[in-house]
């Protein structure tokens, strides 16, 4: 161990008394509003150095030589490191250990790829020293054509293992035969631009060298144990010598699934023997994490005249950029959810993920399902038009429900009242018509671009189906340690997991579960670290389910031991006490009433239990047919969007977004609504604003000046209808909730713009020039 930084994470007492179903305050809320919550960029320790990362300006180049001598001689510089200084394995990756170099050596494969590291006494010193590192490049033509990367064997290789990361087919029935029977055929080509997670807290963290030759890492991440698995071999250290503590995370949304500064800061700390802090700025953050895969999608549907779909013929091409990151599973999701929540008897889907020299892409909220959802929902609207149906009816005609089969053959065994949810969305009251009296209500807002002339209203629907938890046969689990003891005369539960609180409110929920299961009021949340077992990632909307399940299970194990203690204290055999529970601070027997207070039963004993929680196993997807029960849970959100469009200027004002979502069970309404609002907002961003613009492999807009995320002026009021059709396999019947609204809001908004303009709009984000036809 080593010295502890100022503002290192500590135990937090959870306020309030709320159990499962209530909305107690966030344990970290008060610290956050006071500015006292320690984010990974806020850590500080005596003698600390600042690390900086030199990155490639070229998307593709051979590195001829690297000369660090001058940088090393710069006053105030403590270390300059290159690939030669990586103590262990030179590569790391989420799925493949060979994926991505810690520091580039032979070749750089994307703009912004890390090449060298500097540690200095001031961030500005580090930056100036970095400018003195001399790198000779042989600049190469970047390989940026995803289609050629997928299908042209003559296209040069980005990765030595070929340009195709994964091809996943799905085959059901006989598409060719169905084509002959179709009375209506619609087809479309759709594109999704690169979206950025744009979490507000940039990548950052602190590495402190320890006396045992190891290192203490304070980082903001989504999955500590997976980080550790990648970090340890690269540092050449056993995992026990790397102690990781989750520091305050300023949002994640998939962008912290991959490593960023972790190995780099540790290398600098181990080399200099001093603590090293690295904080990316916004520009660097755009290069410091992967983005949402851009997609090119070709869809053809055939149907009967009354709108029943007979076949789907689909090709989805996802550009993963230079390294694999999460591409394998993103392709799996795009394939298995390629036609969404619709029953289609004949399906041919081919999903491809490829390597190029474009920016690396990986996990982002919605994960492969977002791209497909934009395409399949656009197709549903096209089909509605071709059949003379309204968009809700055509969806209802083809809607999946409990007992239906997905394209993969997986049977939806939990409730899925999609047709009813669509009906509910349709019947919600409409927002009042455009009020041109207040210019702020109009597209263009206070810029006063219109007084209402040329403004048309449109309404659109979107439905999204998202898999919850990890899929495709992954042994997905989480671990929780729960301790119950008497402190200051009162029973207190301490909950310890490695699960990453990234803003979603998991720490609030952990305390609620402990209260419900243990009947105590006081709950303390221990900082997340790797001194307890793996919790899996804060992604795939899985933490309520998985870590929630683990806390529930550990609490129940603690409870059993408290019952045994109660029996011993009463001097009676346990099985004579009747059905027991812990309620209101008491051990209660169903037959005999209150037996004793928990405090009296516990006395000086400390009851601690650690449990793993695994969800129902899933299977892989057949590599040829895609068949398999690859998902454990599926969650649905329906959106209705109302927009006003200035058709002359191409400006869009989203007037209202209404969501109908089935969450199985409301665990905490306040947090849940926040997740649906936030997910919806990111879908709006993709629909009309957000895109990393890339030319010749280079990012053109790496700043918040040029990459626009929704502001409070862009977001409309959001109406929510939350349903609770329990999933009997999930803890408390819950369904993961964070991602589905990110899927459905994008196509709903685009459909509404189409409704207002009559345009085809096959690409997101929709830009003004797509509406005015000036591009």
């Amino acid at each position: 161990m080593s010295a502890t930084p100022v503002r290192a994470p500590r135990d937090i007492a959870a306020p309030g008394t709320g159990g499962v179903g209530d909305s107690p305050l966030r344990p970290d809320g008060t610290l956050k509003v006071k500015g006292e919550f320690a984010y990974s960029s806020d850590l500080w320790i005596d003698g600390m150095l600042w690390g900086a990362t030199l990155r490639s300006p070229h998307p593709r180049a051979r590195i001829v030589s690297i000369d660090v001598a001058e940088a090393l001689a710069h006053p105030g510089v403590a270390a300059v490191l290159t690939h030669e200084d990586v103590p262990g394995r030179k590569h790391f990756g989420l799925d493949h250990t060979w994926d991505q170099p810690v520091l580039a050596f032979d070749e750089v494969r994307h703009q912004g790829e890390p090449i060298a590291l500097v540690a200095a006494d001031h961030p500005e010193t580090a930056r100036r020293a970095m400018e003195k590192i001399r790198i000779e490049y042989e600049v190469l033509e970047p390989l940026t054509d995803a289609r050629r990367a997928a299908f042209d064997p003559a296209y040069p290789q980005v990765q030595p293992r070929g340009n195709l990361a994964r091809h996943q087919p799905v085959r059901v029935g006989d598409v060719e035969a169905a084509k002959a029977r179709a009375e209506v055929v619609v087809s479309g080509e759709y594109r999704v631009g690169i979206q950025d997670q744009a979490f507000l807290g940039p990548e950052s963290g602190l590495a402190v060298p320890a006396e045992d030759g190891g290192v203490d890492l304070y980082v903001a991440t989504q999955w500590m144990h997976n980080d550790l698995k990648q970090i340890a071999p690269c540092l050449g250290l056993p995992e026990e010598k790397i102690r990781m503590t989750l520091s305050g995370v300023g949002g994640a949304f998939g962008g912290r699934e991959d490593l960023s500064m972790q190995i780099h800061a540790a290398m600098l700390a181990l080399r200099t023997g001093r603590p090293v802090k690295i904080v990316y700025n916004r520009y660097e953050s755009f290069f410091g994490h992967v983005h949402r895969h851009p997609a090119e999608m070709r869809y053809e549907y055939g149907a009967t005249r009354d709108g029943k779909i007979l076949y789907a013929d689909v090709e989805i091409l996802l550009d993963g950029g230079a390294y694999t990151s999460a591409t394998m599973n993103v392709v799996g999701n795009a394939a298995s959810l390629g036609v969404g929540p619709y029953v289609i008897p004949n399906v041919r889907i081919d999903a491809y993920g490829v390597y190029t020299n474009n920016p690396p892409c990986g996990a982002m909220r919605g994960f492969g399902a977002v791209q497909a959802c934009f395409a399949y929902e656009s197709m549903m609207d096209k089909l509605a038009e071709a059949c003379g149906l309204d968009p809700v009816t055509v969806r209802q005609v083809n809607a999946a429900s409990q007992g239906s089969e997905l394209a993969t053959g997986q049977v939806i065994w939990a409730p899925l009242p999609m047709a009813e949810m669509l009906q509910q969305a349709r019947e919600l009251p409409m927002p009042p018509p455009l009020d041109p009296a207040d210019i702020r209500n109009l597209p263009g807002g206070a810029s006063q671009t219109t007084h209402g002339e040329g403004v048309r209203r449109g309404v659109g629907y979107g439905v999204g189906l998202k898999n919850i938890c990890f899929s495709e046969g992954f042994d997905d689990y989480s671990t929780a340690r729960v301790r119950l003891e008497v402190v200051g005369g009162e029973a207190v539960a301490l909950v310890h997991t490695a699960a990453a609180e990234v803003g979603q409110g998991l720490v609030t929920l952990e305390a609620q579960i402990a209260r419900t299961e243990l009947g105590v009021e006081r709950v303390v949340i221990h900082p997340a670290d790797n001194q307890v077992g793996d919790a899996g990632s804060s992604s795939a909307s899985r933490q309520s389910y998985m870590t929630g399940g683990a806390v529930m299970t550990a609490c129940r194990a603690v409870r059993e031991r408290v019952f045994a203690l109660a029996a011993a204290r009463l001097g009676r055999p346990l099985d004579t006490l009747g059905e027991l529970s812990l309620t209101g601070g008491k051990v209660v027997s169903e037959s005999a009433g209150v037996l004793a207070s928990i405090e009296d039963v516990l006395g000086d004993s400390v009851v601690e239990e650690t449990r793993e929680y695994h969800h129902e196993p899933t299977t892989g997807m057949d590599p040829v047919t895609g068949r398999g029960d690859s998902h454990t849970q599926l969650a649905l959100c329906v959106h209705r969007a109302v927009v006003d469009v200035d058709v002359e200027l191409g400006l869009v004002k989203v007037v209202e977004l209404a969501a109908v979502q089935d969450v199985g069970k409301v665990l905490n309404r306040l947090s849940l609504e926040g997740q649906i609002h936030g997910g919806t907002a990111q879908g709006l961003g993709l629909a009309v604003m957000e895109e990393i613009v890339v030319a010749d492999g280079k990012v053109r807009n790496p700043s918040f000046t040029d990459y626009l995320i929704p502001t409070i002026l862009d977001m409309p009021p959001m109406r929510l209808e939350i349903l609770e059709n329990a999933d009997p396999r999930a803890p408390y019947g819950l369904r993961g909730a964070g991602e589905p609204p990110t899927l459905s809001s994008t196509p709903a908004i685009v459909a509404a713009i189409r409704d207002a303009t009559g345009l085809a709009l096959t690409r997101v984000p929709v830009r003004p020039e797509h509406i005015t036809g000036s591009s």
């Binding site: 509003v33 001031h122 507000l200 979603q504 609504e673 409070i712």
Partner: protein, 157 residues
Amino acid sequence: MRVTFTVNGRRETADDVWEGESLLYVLRERVGLPGSKNACEQGECGSCTVYLDGTPVCACLVAAGQAEGREVRTVEGLADGDRLDPVQEAFVECGAVQCGFCTPGLVVQAHDLIERVEQPSDAEIREALAGNLCRCTGYEKILDAVRLAAARKAAAS
């Protein structure tokens, strides 16, 4: 250079400040007040909002030297010890805080709004907070929080 200014009522002196350093850097790294956040350092996100002589500014756009002799109030200076300011209280209660990285800036900006405008309309709230990005909440709960804080303030006065 040396910069002396008042922060949250306390006189602070920072030595060896580089010319390029922003007020935000000095607050966060030299005087131990990291509450103001550094999400863009370009004046686009508002996460670094502080009062400078009573007016909200982006601390990332203020050169440290410009703060010489002036009065700064940061998010750390809003609560009265353990008693939260009504805006802070409303943010926690309404669920306006998720990751919280935007929160310090939003709290200062909202604090200024309800100082200036009694019972602001939704349009006024949206306008006042248009320079503060939040990636987590979609802003609905932030609107709730500002409405609640304004209502409580009006009721108390």
